[in-house]
Symmetry: C2
Subunit: 183 residues, 2 copies
């Protein structure tokens, strides 16, 4: 999946691994996180496969050089083909907290409740973050072409998902805390 995220961003404009990591951190990381180590190795692999080309940009000053990647025609075709397909399943959920809760019967009740209360805090923060975000702040990090502005409408739908997800999660946490307090 990371492959397509990188192709997707590089289809907007050429960028370095560092740029991609920064962009991801404030956008796609909310539904697909990746470490910089994976980003750099995947970029190399995509270049080997001919989907990207890179160019080392010498920095003035004594700074570290940047390696800027551009998408190739083959890369664009790969992205297009991938998008032309249709997911044949819903994405399976992987939620650690639910695993823990499922097996919390033998656990100290206060320990469980503390964990849920801490999670409530985390999800409140996430919701607050999403509410403070505008999909347009991403445009500011790239060249604001008219095409990019059209992309922002799709970005907004994923942000809306995030808000609803956190809202749902919080309500469930509240109710679950109350339920377990009453056990």
């Amino acid at each position: 999946m990371l492959k397509y995220i990188l192709l997707g961003f590089l289809n907007y404009q050429p960028m370095s691994g560092y740029d991609l990591k920064s962009l991801m951190d404030e956008s796609t990381s909310h539904f697909w996180h990746a470490y910089h180590s994976q980003i750099y190795t995947t970029l190399r692999k995509l270049e080997e496969d001919g989907l990207l080309v890179s160019e080392e940009i010498e920095a003035e000053d004594a700074k570290l050089n940047r390696r800027v990647y551009s998408i190739t025609a083959a890369g664009q075709a790969e992205l297009r083909d991938w998008l032309a397909q249709t997911m044949s399943e819903p994405t399976p959920v992987k939620e650690d907290l639910l695993v823990r809760l499922f097996f919390s019967g033998s656990r100290d009740r206060e320990s469980t409740l503390n964990e849920l209360r801490l999670q409530r805090q985390f999800h409140q923060q996430k919701l607050a973050l999403y509410n403070s975000l505008s999909p347009h702040h991403l445009v500011a990090d790239m060249d604001a072409t008219p095409e990019l502005l059209r992309e922002a409408r799709f970005w907004a739908t994923t942000l809306e998902f995030g808000k609803r997800y956190e809202h749902m999660y919080l309500a469930w946490l509240e109710d679950t805390i109350r339920t377990i307090e009453a056990f």
Copy 2:
């Protein structure tokens, strides 16, 4: 994580890899899916680490023998220690559909809409499934001890999460379909 799911179930009662796979399929797979190949290899590893012991049960008839695993004292301690901890973060979301939607600006609109409509179908089915499930049907697959019945209250909270998740997801899909139709 699979490690703790296996320890968690085996803490209820001894079982084979096949039993564990079946139990997971109708419970934890909704928030933590695993293939049988991974289950069998993980069970072996846990036995090597002394957290489980296994015993080969000879089948009457000419059936294949079952290997039944039991949790050891060390295994119970490991499970207890893990549950005594507290997650220091919310679980990161990984949702393929959002990645695809994020980069769908350059995509044919009908293709995007078709994918969303198909997902709507999937999530309707998931919601229907969750609504048909009772946490007690799981007890039927194991020995119905009074302790197990207490566990079922925790199982129910995870099922409730599933219902709310699918409900939220569906509403978002509906709204997103309408939004994109209006683009």
